[in-house]
Symmetry: C2
Subunit: 319 residues, 2 copies
């Protein structure tokens, strides 16, 4: 019988669970919005529900799963989510709770790290030994594949790509520092910069689009619509974000000389190579060793919103 694995991508806004085989074929999936301001136990119940629903769609009993993996938006140690600011969690033993409930092995990982693991296992970084993921969303996260496996560093703190300085000044980052690429190029920072431009008297259709779409945040779909409408403020802010992401990608190439940099997250998913191409161009202009043959690929993630859940399904898998 085909072995099946569950993987969950747990985010601050929404979660997706998949049941997949060892080749990353999704047999069943389920998703929902993450409860806001709920107790950790209630969110873990949601996760368990999504796993059960995905199992049902895949026609497998949860107890017949080989393993469950969950990517959480924060720092993870063993079966514990140590810190997840977007969930307001500290030291939540999600792994133990789920493994008791389902009686199968459960492993946890960081959300961006499992996303790059997913892309490495089944997507844009498949078959590579050296890959770097840059995930652009509320913040900017990263993940590294080195020697063909996930690289997490000495303290499990590797891949904090969003807080690499690409400027010696620049706007204040949510982390409290200046110059972080996240302060220029996360979705949140782009929204802040658009609001600042409007506050200074610039005209922009962004607020209208947000009202039309009934969004209280500048989501990827709002960004896409504003760009399509040729909104000057949005175009400037977007180009600036791409510029700084290009410096970041160039820095990573000069340091690590990887085979591929995968750009993921909502904006990359929605806009694909029209988001990534200018990033690639800036990055290439920074390579100390030129790459005329295009050996280093800088590409959008290939698995859409499944990168994280499929990567998570790899976590508890025995190789």
């Amino acid at each position: 019988m085909t072995k099946l694995y569950a993987g969950v991508d747990l985010g601050g806004t929404s979660m997706i669970a998949v049941v997949a085989d060892r080749r990353g074929k999704v047999r069943g999936e389920s998703g929902t919005y993450t409860l806001r301001d709920a107790k950790p136990a209630d969110v873990i119940d949601q996760v368990a529900d999504q796993i059960r629903t995905a199992c049902k769609k895949a026609s497998v009993k949860p107890s017949a799963l080989e393993s469950i993996g969950v990517g959480a938006p924060g720092a993870v140690e063993g079966a514990m989510v140590v810190r997840a600011p977007n969930l307001k969690w500290t030291n939540v033993p999600m792994g133990s709770v789920l493994s008791k409930r389902f009686r199968v092995p459960v492993a946890l990982g960081n959300d961006v790290q499992v996303a790059i693991l997913g892309e490495h296992s089944f997507g844009a970084a498949k078959g590579t030994n050296r890959a770097v993921g840059i995930w652009v969303g509320t913040g900017i996260g990263g993940g590294l594949i080195i020697n063909g496996t996930l690289y997490t560093g000495s303290r499990g703190a590797a891949g904090e790509i969003g807080h690499m300085a690409v400027s010696d000044a620049g706007p204040l980052c949510p982390c409290g520092r200046n110059g972080c690429v996240e302060a220029f190029a996360s979705r949140t920072s782009m929204e802040r910069r658009v609001r600042e431009a409007i506050a200074l008297g610039r005209e922009s259709v962004v607020p209208d689009i947000m009202r039309q779409k009934e969004k209280d945040r500048m989501t990827s779909s709002v960004i896409a619509r504003a760009l399509k409408a040729d909104d000057a403020v949005m175009k400037e802010v977007f180009a600036s974000a791409q510029h700084y992401l290009g410096l970041l990608a160039g820095n990573i190439v000069n340091l690590l000389d990887p085979e591929v940099i995968v750009i993921g997250g909502g904006i990359a998913q929605r806009l694909g190579d029209s988001f990534v191409a200018p990033i690639r161009e800036t990055a290439q202009s920074r390579y100390l060793r030129p790459d005329p043959k295009g050996e280093i690929r800088i590409v959008p993630a290939a698995l859409g919103d499944h990168s994280g859940a499929l990567g998570a399904s790899m976590l508890a898998r025995k190789s």
Copy 2:
């Protein structure tokens, strides 16, 4: 009988050859200034002479060496020095020439990569799995140890740390770009910035010290003397270099979460922790994951001017 290995650190200015045992104990050494504007064959003759002299001092026949390794200041592929700007070399088959001459296996490496290999084998990064070297000299080079071995990337181009952008503006780098850490913090860039300050009418004792020491360049010893004399321009330029090196080191920690960052090169060798401490302080201020226990060390190289030659002696060694 103890197995002995030769290692050569070949630089644009000078070269050092050592004969060492497997524990990195130097049994014999020899050094000289590198011929300027000479044919590659003449410089290779110099290298061979230094190896012979080091062998003599170690009381071993060159033919009895287990192997020879050479670190060259540029890009290396197999037995070929592909490009070495400071030597004005292109495609020089130094490895083949030396192995024919000595009839022992010869391996080549990049000078900074062998230096971090030396520090990893016998010095400040000994026993670590994840170490990064930042070598500050004429330029700024880097080397990475990942999973306990030298990491050179997909095209052998990893570790070009000097050309990571830490600013979105800043002075022009010799590489033709702006914002590279090398443009702020190499010895050459520091010298350029001191000269610029003087040209703008600032007073500085640096030119006097250079005359006294009969140096046509602002060497490490000139820098050390000017700092001791409390020269305001030198202090500013030096502090700025340390600031940008701190941003660089912080970026590397946020990306790679290494156990140790080793700062090497002439300035670090001469000034030790008085050079490194402010770099460490700035880096620590940038860590997204704080390091209250000081798990991540940022330290000067420990092997003095032997890092490169001892690392080179490791190159051709069978493990």
